[in-house]
């Protein structure tokens, strides 16, 4: 590994020129990380364009001192900043430049200071900093390098940059655990990923490794928690996006606080950054004219004005989302009650969940809304309850999308159908495969009677546990586990290999574990899985697969 003890202005410029090239390679992948429904979405491209402007200015620096070059780079980032992430990145650069002020070259402690200033400045540009984004990654970088101190043997700029990259990577991986919207979309933060990629590019250049990576692409970090597809897409999120408006104002004595205050009411996602002679504004507004008017009438001259229709961007985004669907443009909508079961279904690739089940049947409208919100024109619905099958079938006549209902009458059938989904197969073949899979499981439901009743020779007391197999009542007993064992003894389990037990709302985990252990003991050839279903009504849902 190369050893670098200090860096000058030219080194700084070359490092980040290489980093810009490195970022460019993965800009489309970073764009694809954007979370629905964030409207101005091309994070990767925006950061890349911001960096390009940053590098262009670097060449204009009057001398080769690191402070001069950094100053010009920060200015380049500011005038070229695009999008939310680009503006925050420009703030990051402003902080770096501040930390590098009055320096000819940088040693390790100078770099530690620069990263600290960068993290602070990135955060200051925002009225409402949100954790789990690029600003968290910037702070984690600063914390990691300041903790190390770099006084020991063998430390040099390359090892410091390696530390920066690994801190950034770990921080990006944590973003889904900090920001629920990322968790639900199953992605890491795009801006954070962009910053990581820039730092990685700079480090590889400095370490002399770029040649080795000539044919490689930057890696997209994988979140360190379960990745999932969107859980429920709520119609309430649908609001007008308006126009993403960006401009630079050049004037004298510009007061950012005052500008921010004036613009706050004009829209959302407002960012105001810069100095008293040059201010960059980013805002999502339904009335960009009023923003422009305010700026020209009261502030100064306008530069690099950009107004983009975000509803159009949103449509493009929806198109892009289609590529992330299971395959062949097929989306799956499932009706499920219970947060645990919703997790199970989303983890298996369902595009949207409609909440509902035995005690609360969803309306046709509920299912229709989910169908319309999935970014796919071909939809398969899993009703997972016999009372919902007909409701789901109604949807077919109410939408222009191609909709098919797999008549799953219980949760285990829904899981079996979902598992059989074939990414290589087309719509019709998948219907066939999934429908066939329903017949290959037995669904056991254990539930307490809601009232006293006489059914088919059984005399059932209120709250007494009953056991059903594929909808038929087959056993009644005084205890839940007793019913379960009775039912299992009546079901053919010889051919089965897996037995998941989904325990419901009123059941403690310890109890479910105890019951499952007993099942395991009696049926040693079965792989018994205990999963928290959280479903109301059914104490246990058991699938014999």
């Amino acid at each position: 590994m190369r050893q670098v003890d200090s860096i000058g202005g030219r080194d700084l410029r070359d490092m980040f020129a290489a980093a810009t090239g490195w970022l460019e390679k993965s800009a489309p992948e970073i764009d694809a990380l954007n979370v629905f429904p964030v409207p101005d979405g091309d994070t990767g491209t925006n950061m890349m364009l911001t960096m390009r402007s940053c590098i262009e200015e670097a060449y204009r620096a009057p001398d080769n001192s690191v402070s001069a070059v950094a100053d010009y780079m920060a200015r380049g980032a500011l005038i070229g900043a695009r999008g939310n992430s680009g503006v925050i990145l420009s703030q990051f650069w402003r902080g770096l430049a501040k930390g590098m002020a009055h320096k000819d070259t940088l040693d390790l402690s100078d770099l530690v200071l620069a990263f600290k200033e960068a993290a602070i400045m990135a955060r200051n540009g925002l009225t409402n900093p949100v954790e789990g984004t690029i600003i968290t990654v910037a702070s984690d970088i600063a914390a990691a390098v300041s903790e190390n101190g770099y006084s020991g043997q063998g430390q040099n700029v390359v090892t410091l940059m390696k530390d920066v990259v690994s801190a950034a990577g770990a921080s990006v991986a944590r973003t889904p655990s900090l920001l629920p919207v990322l968790r639900e979309a199953g992605v890491v933060d795009a801006g954070g990923q962009g910053l990581y990629t820039i730092m990685e590019g700079a480090m590889r250049h400095l370490a002399g490794e770029m040649k080795e990576y000539e044919f490689k692409k930057p890696q997209i970090i994988v979140g360190d928690i379960l990745t999932r597809l969107p859980k429920t897409l709520s119609v309430a999120d649908e609001e007008a996006y308006g126009y993403c408006t960006e401009l630079v104002i050049v004037g004298k004595g510009l007061d950012q606080k005052k500008i921010r205050k004036r613009l706050e009411k004009k829209g959302q996602s407002l960012i105001v950054v810069g100095d008293d002679e040059r201010v960059r504004i980013h805002i999502h507004s339904l009335d960009p004219g009023s923003v422009i008017h305010y700026a020209t009438a009261h502030l100064g001259t306008l530069h690099q004005v950009s107004i983009r229709n975000m509803d159009e961007q949103h449509l493009d985004f929806m198109e892009m989302q289609k590529e992330r669907l299971p395959a062949g443009d097929i989306g799956i909508v499932a009706v499920v009650a219970g947060d645990g079961l919703a997790d199970v279904f989303t983890s298996l690739g369902v595009s949207a969940i409609v909440t509902g089940g035995q005690t609360m049947n969803p309306s046709t409208k509920d299912i229709l809304q989910a169908v319309e919100h999935v970014a796919s024109d071909n939809i398969i619905i899993l009703p997972n309850n016999k009372n919902i099958v007909a409701t789901a079938e109604q949807v077919q006549t109410l939408t222009n999308k191609r909709v098919a209902v797999i008549p799953t009458k219980a949760v285990p059938q829904g899981v079996a159908a979902l598992l059989a989904f074939d990414y290589e197969a087309n719509f019709d073949s998948n219907l066939e495969l999934m429908t066939r899979a329903i017949g290959q499981v037995k669904s056991i439901e254990i539930v307490r009677a809601s009232r006293a009743a006489k059914i088919g020779g059984w005399e059932i007391k209120k709250k007494q546990p009953m056991g059903f197999v594929d909808g038929d009542l087959v056993a009644v007993a005084d205890k839940l586990d007793e019913v379960l064992f009775k039912v299992l003894s009546l079901v053919e389990t010889g051919q089965a290999s897996v037995l998941p037990i989904y325990y419901g709302e009123g059941i403690e985990q310890e109890e479910a574990e105890r019951v499952s252990a007993a099942v395991r003991e009696q049926y040693p050839h079965l792989e018994v899985e205990v999963v928290r279903g959280g479903q109301p009504h059914y104490s246990y849902l058991v699938s014999v697969e």
């Binding site: 199953g186 044919f215 890696q219 997209i220 994988v222 999932r228 298996l348 989904f421 290999s497």
Partner: protein
Amino acid sequence: MLKIVTDSLSDITSGLAGELGISVVPVYVRFGEKVYRDRVEITTEEFYRRLTHEATLPTTTQPTPSDFAEVYNKLAKETNEILVVTLSSKLSGTYQSAVHAKEMVEGDVRIEVIDSQTVVMGLGVIVISVARAAQAGASLEEAVALVHGAKPRSHAIMSFDTLKYLAKGGRIGRAQGLLGSMLSVKPILTIKDGEISPVTRVRSRAAGIDYLYNFVAGFPRIEELAVEHATTPDEAAALVERLGALYPKEKIHPANVSPVIGTYVGPHVLSVSVLAAP
């Protein structure tokens, strides 16, 4: 006579390479700072042992252009026609190296390089087929046409235990939907358009093996068939025995799944590759 060259990620065994006159250029496998030439300096057993026991995941690196040039120059002494078939350019830069190496060859030799868009024995069966044609006297043009014709007929499918390695390597791509399942599922993957792509998932290892069997049974006529494993020879042998009902089992090519796939899918992979008859 036309000479055939491929890379070690075709999984072609040295015995078969010798028999069919195929030159195999090894890729590099890197564990931390140490670099090994695939199946020359590190055995498959050793690779998978370290894959499961070491904290840092190995990476694979393409052969350099000069690695290919060395082979080309050696072959140029006996032939004036060379056909190179590499693994998918989307999985490795090997194809680029093989192309760049053409400029480093002296003398009057025509070299064609083709990106197979597949890997493991999916690549292997294409190479076997064209090597047989070369032995039968095919020209470079005929062989190029044959490889292009064979690409869509080659199908590789694999069953394995865990997506852990796929996730760690950050190379999930379209398999993202298979990730993070709350139930225990065994993914089935294929190579599609040069990339690793999900097919479906099954609930048990036995069901995975059934899936591989049924996949082969779906082909009316088979030209070449290969069964590969990483660390489970008994399982592979049992599958070969079963496949004997569909295809003469002595003609099934046994092989070890290459490290590049190993870094994706971990040690318990079982893979079947079919070259469907035209």
